[in-house]
Structure formats: C-alpha cells, structure tokens
Amino acid sequence: MSYRFSCNTTRLLRGCVALGLVFCAVFVMPANFAAAAPPAPTVEVNIAKFAFSPQEITVAPGTKVIWTNRDDTPHTVTSNDKSFASKGLDTDDKFEHTFASEGDFSYICTLHPFMTGVVHVRKQ
C-alpha cells in the first residue's frame, strides 16, 4: 500500500507540474501580451432632451461607444443596418457597442425616429 501510495504521489506531482505549464501557456502569456496592447478607446454619447449628443462622432476601429439616457422618457439606440440595437433604455440606463470595422453607422431611437445619430468609423 505504501509503495503504491508514493508512486501515485510522484505521478500527482508530475501532473501538477504539467498542469502548471499549461496554465502558464494559456493564461499568463496572453495576459502579458494584453497588458502590452493599448487600452480600447471609449467614447461617450448622451441621450438628453430627445437628442443624441454629440449627434455625429468619428472614431477609430476598436472604439467602444457608450450611450447613456439622461431623459425621463425611454429611448433606444437602433442602427439602420441592424448591426446593433439596444433594449429600451430607461433613465440612466447605458448601452455600449464596439465598432470593429470601418464604415458609417447611422442610428435612430425607434420610439422617436426623429432622433438620429451617426458613428463614422475611420482608421486614424
């Protein structure tokens, strides 16, 4: 029993070392790469007095845009090409979308289609 036990312990230790290496490969190394990359830029858009403000923005690919509803009335952020759409946003609710590729993305509030905005995504 004791021999078998020590044998199993050795195997266990080997297994732990191997697992540790796997952890290094999968988690530690990419974390180091991520730290070296610049943080994703963020741009804020307010929804206030039934308008998107700023109504028109130009951002680089990879930018995250965050909309916040400041009105007492619900609004949505809904793109005309259906590439992004928020739920109904109550007061102080937020919606975010990261624009991966270049293009012009116009959007409206589906409750108040006279509210329009556009995000231009351009390499800078």
């Binding site: 007095k49 039934f50 308008a51 009105d71 007492d72 009335t73 619900p74 949505t76 005309n80 739920k87 109904g88 109550d90 007061t91 116009s106 409206i108 589906t110 409750l111 108040h112 289609p113 006279f114 329009t116």
Partner: protein
Amino acid sequence: MSKYDPTNPGHNPARRQALSCLAAWTGAAVVWTVAGGVPRALGATSTGTPPAAAKDALTFVQISDTHIGFHKAANPDVIGSLRRAIADINALSQTPAFVVHTGDVSHLSKPEEFGQAREVLQEIHVDRVHTVPGEHDAIDEGVNGYLKFFDHDGNGKSWYSFDQGGVHFIALNNVLNFKMGRMAALGDEQITWMKSNLAGVPHSTPVVVLAHIPLWTIWEPWGWGTADSAQAMALLRPFGSVTVLNGHIHQVLQKVEGHISLHTAMSLAYPQPKPGQEGIGEPGPVTVPADQLGKLLGTRQLSVVRGRHELALIDTPLDR
C-alpha cells in the same frame, strides 16, 4: 401651496383666471356634439358633471396614456391616477358600454407593467376594455409583449374591428413601420386590411377609429403625426360620420376635415407641452405643482345617438 376651495371660487381672482386658462387648454368639460361631422360647442358644465345622455345612446369612455411603470417627478403614482379615473367611470350615471384605451398602456413594455395594467383595468365596471398599442407598448420586441396581454380577437394582430350600438369601430396600430427621420406609420399591410374591412360597411354607418398617435400631423418635429395617414383618411372620407380618437400628446386637441373629426385625449400619467411649445424643445413629461396635476389628467365620455349621427364628447379632468 394653498388648496383651491371650490365652495369659495371667488377668493382669489388671479388664481381663478389661471384655472380657466388651464381648462381652456385641456378642453375640460366642454360638451361637443358632432352633427354631420361638424362639431359645435353646446356649453360648458361648471362642475365637470356630464349631462345625462339620451336613453338610446351608445355611451363609452376613452382613457389614454396610463404609462404604468412611470414613477418620475411628473407623476410618482400613475396607478393612483388610473384608480381615480376608474372611480369616476364607475360613478357615471349611465354605465358605459365599454372603455377604449388609446395606447401607452405601459411605460417600458415590461410584462409586469402590462400585467398590472390589465389587473387594474379589470376594476372598471364594464364588460370590455378595448386597447390599441402606443410606442411605449412596442419597445424591444415590437408589439409581441403587448399582445401577450391584449390580444383582443386572438388573431395575434394589434389591429381589429368590432361593431356595437350601430357603430363600426376600427382599432389601429400606428406605432410601427418607423423609418429614419420619418414619423411612424400604419404600413401597407394594415392599410390593405382597413380597405377590405371598410368595404362591406354602409357609408351611413358611423365609424369610430382608435389609434395612439394622432392621424393628422400636429407637430412633425416631435413625431406628432402619422406618415401615411392620408391613405387612411381617403378610405374614411366616403362615410357620413367619422370620429378618430387618439392619444400620445397628453392633451385635448380637435380637428375637423369634412365629415371626419379627430380628437386627442388627456393622459392619465403626466402632461406634455403644447405642440412645439417655445422654451421646452422636446415632447417629454412636464412636471407641474402637485395640486395642478389632477386638472391636466382625465377621461372622456362619448355618446353616439343612433339615427342622428351625433357624437357628444365630454372631457373631464380628475380634479374639477
């Protein structure tokens, strides 16, 4: 603020003048009859108590824009306001045949808001409450969430018709089919349905149309109109008596086009600015002093006298 004392209305002339202005704005307690489509004011009831309707009249009540789920400063207790309206309806001397709700039942289209609305509306002593969806009832998944609670004919459609008391009623959905920078619309499918629905109705039959957003353009920059309303009006024009009942703008306005009269109603949640009102800039909730709110919210009683094609409308605020 001091309370208005109805037993001593002369104690503050300036205040009385202000109140009469408010009454004029809301159209409160003004009795209209529509003869041949042309309304004329019969007179105002000083107490807001409606005169008794003729015995053979079909009487029904319109409520609108309850916004169940709203809890901001403009009205922290929309359920309380709805219950006050229900007490008024249940106290009417002539029990209405039914109630119509012209949309924005909920504030955020949440199932619990629809559920609570349906539960409270059942406190009205009528057989049916007919509803149409407002844009607040069509958030996130169109009208699907609304239809789970208010599918009137079981067809899974938000538009339908019914006949009662010799009157043909059409309930419409004009809160979908929006396009960028354009007002909401009825859409081709609904216009086609409306055309076939009206095809078998004699032109002498009074028609009442229910829709949330006004079917005439009141103020386009705020979306206070329906993009394809002209097509609907063309279908209604041959009829001798057409009454369109709308909500959405939380105030009483009227328009007459030939034999078609169009009326918007007060809300039961909060007031909104006058169309394009200077210094406000957007159609959001207007917060008024607490003792003024009940004067700007209210119900509408309608009577249709068979054979005369007359419709009497009485708008009654919660506080009179």
